[in-house]
Symmetry: C2
């Protein structure tokens, strides 16, 4: 078993309202950052886990996303990277 570090992005689905992103955009505009058009706010998870190899680590994290970490109705997830810490 090797220790792997897997990074996951969980973001609101396209077409799903993102009120947190809207609030951030509005706050940025109020601070003078008027070049900002849109902001999406998601979660960035970093998981340290033991797995036999890189692909086992990735598929294990996909299982976690499907079962707990991401809401399949409103969110998409992607594995951003698998490294050895």
């Amino acid at each position: 078993m090797t220790r792997f570090r897997v990074a996951v992005h969980i973001v609101p689905r396209k077409g799903v309202l993102d009120p947190q992103g809207k609030a951030v955009s509005d706050a940025l505009h109020a601070l003078g950052f008027s070049a900002v058009h849109e902001t999406r706010v998601g979660r960035h998870l970093v998981l340290d886990l033991d797995a036999a190899d890189r692909s086992a680590a990735e598929s294990s994290v996909r299982g976690m996303c499907d079962k707990l970490l991401a809401n399949p109705v409103t969110e998409d997830y992607e594995i951003a990277g698998v490294t050895t810490p």
Copy 2:
């Protein structure tokens, strides 16, 4: 001016307690994912903005992180990528 899409990771600093990450780890263990050792939960922001070039877009987003998006006492941020959407 070109439209750029900048992705930012904002994560709790090393050494700062991450109760959300601890809660996720505990929930994963309860679901049988016992190989997970540690989970850190941060934010993943995707900003669409206009800028003269790639480095201007990146430095503009660094300013946003310093002024609004990240808490400098408890969080670190990194620019994860600059693309043209």
